[in-house]
Symmetry: C2
Amino acid sequence: MRDDNVTNQNSPLDRFIAVIPAGGVGTRLWPLSRAAAPKFLHDLTGSGSTLLRATYDRLEPLAGKQVLVVTGTAHRTAVCSQLPELQDSDLVLESEPKDSGAAIGLAAAILHQRDPDTIMGSFAADHVISPDDLFQDTVREAIHTAAAGKIVTIGIKPTHPSTGFGYIRSGRNLAVPLAPNAQAVVEFVEKPSEEVAQEYVDSGDYVWNAGMFVAPVALMLKHLEANQPELFKGLLEIARAWDGPERDEVTARVWPTLPKIAIDYAVAEPAAAAGDVAVVPGLFRWDDVGDFASVGRLNSAKEVRDVTVLGEGARVFTENASGVVVSDTKRVIALIGIKDVVIVDTPDALLVTTKAHSQRVKAAVDALKASGDTDVL
Amino acid sequence: MRDDNVTNQNSPLDRFIAVIPAGGVGTRLWPLSRAAAPKFLHDLTGSGSTLLRATYDRLEPLAGKQVLVVTGTAHRTAVCSQLPELQDSDLVLESEPKDSGAAIGLAAAILHQRDPDTIMGSFAADHVISPDDLFQDTVREAIHTAAAGKIVTIGIKPTHPSTGFGYIRSGRNLAVPLAPNAQAVVEFVEKPSEEVAQEYVDSGDYVWNAGMFVAPVALMLKHLEANQPELFKGLLEIARAWDGPERDEVTARVWPTLPKIAIDYAVAEPAAAAGDVAVVPGLFRWDDVGDFASVGRLNSAKEVRDVTVLGEGARVFTENASGVVVSDTKRVIALIGIKDVVIVDTPDALLVTTKAHSQRVKAAVDALKASGDTDVL
């Protein structure tokens, strides 16, 4: 149920539906995260909830049960088990991955078909955010800004000159009622060098692009049509059939033909160039849990001496050791005289690396794939 | 069968029986080596043979099937499976460990009971030696020296100033026929400091004490009686009953009462002081496989890039890594950006340490024991 303060008559908050794209294996979190058990199905913060469940719970005060989850057919059972509240109509299953343009575009098209006045908000299923109330305040500002006719990204105030994220350059304040922090977006910029990132941070004009946005579905589709007419046409055909008897037939025929493109290129960047994008800076803590070093940071309270331990059955013994242990088994793990190590112990695969090398995990997964050892991917 | 050249009439080589004490968990090789699967039951060299089997095979040209294995009752099945040649009379089972004084002393007493002229040679079941023929030549010299009335240790010419071994100071050549290298032992010395060890090595008068010795059983018992009369008396009582119907009754009654003492203190050192000990220096390669760094050295040929991999089912992927992986599972193990690491992967326990810390494994096992996690020890 939505909070009382968001159910005022005629508020744009009433038109809000949350979209949760639950895709992405999280390759840099292998072997914990893998095709059959992607990142969003794990509890990477030790909260007792999977990232997907935590995302849903964080959005419920804003969206009530008005939530659409977009995921792969392979994850249907796991997603429904995590989110028993979901109705059939709340689930969009992709028979094959088609990147975020098609996934979020289809959500927009289906929601538009159901109610063209809908304001959608898209929030990845595998990010970590806190505190929830600060996040919710920011999203409410974004909804009001969207109602004023904008695609609204939620930017994250940088805590350091990260070279791992894209940045958003913000401009003048838009003076939107009930959204005092909404600003125009001047441009999206790709992941910068460290030097450039430092300039961005120092200037105060840049925020991290966390891939979260809130927008009227009609405005999303307008820009999609203008920039990706082929994708738009296919999505519209599927959306029109979605809630009728021909869904399966149409989807099976059209979905495989759709182009793969990220929503950033399909909508956000051209819309920004057209002056239709705003940003509301988020002051909450945000982490995309990009690697195991990040998993360690998020769980620093769970230390066995200097080793952060994640995993219910973990039996970890350390001597003169530091780092992160993620245990998906009941095995005893003994660490002796090894610093800043990252150990991920699963029933069929073991990763041993260091915090400094944790971004290289993707390369190892690529090597395994190339060698044909796909049973553990 | 013995080599032809050792079966000459009246040669002391004919009186030789090999004793193999197969005890010792090998705690510093945990979690591979443990109470239920001690070091001697592992193939730590990748030869395809367990250390016990390799020890037996190395002795066969000297002893034929005249071999006595002393081990714990718990290892009976495993030992017999490794050494199907063993007759019941070739096996001495200890109901509880009583240190090497009782184990080797009982072997000496039983062999003396069967034939007082026997020359025994005691060789641990868990050392690595090569080449075999050089070892056998050395033992033959030791047998001839023993026949001349000595307890003969086999010393190892030091390759570096080890602080992990005891040393033997050798004296004048004993001019024993057929044993040109036999020398008097001046003294046994405990593990030295590195500085002292360097002096030992430089002097040329010291060899490592590898715990191997060859001696007339009667001389062994004479020194045992003189130095440990209580132990001697108990062992004699058991030995007299050993090959008769009262073995079990006598052993069950007497064995638990025996004092625990190392054979070095019970026999070798006092015998040396009495001038009854000789040393034959061994020029073969010898390794007591004291830790995983040693396992790495012994298997350096099996490298996956810079990582030495041991284990039949091992599936190891490395990037920018070096060290040793011992795999007792079929799991994929990925190492990224980690140097000189030691990883031992078993079904219920995982060790991650470094070559430099591999001697500290014993401390970790002690910590596990103290914490009650004895299921993996």
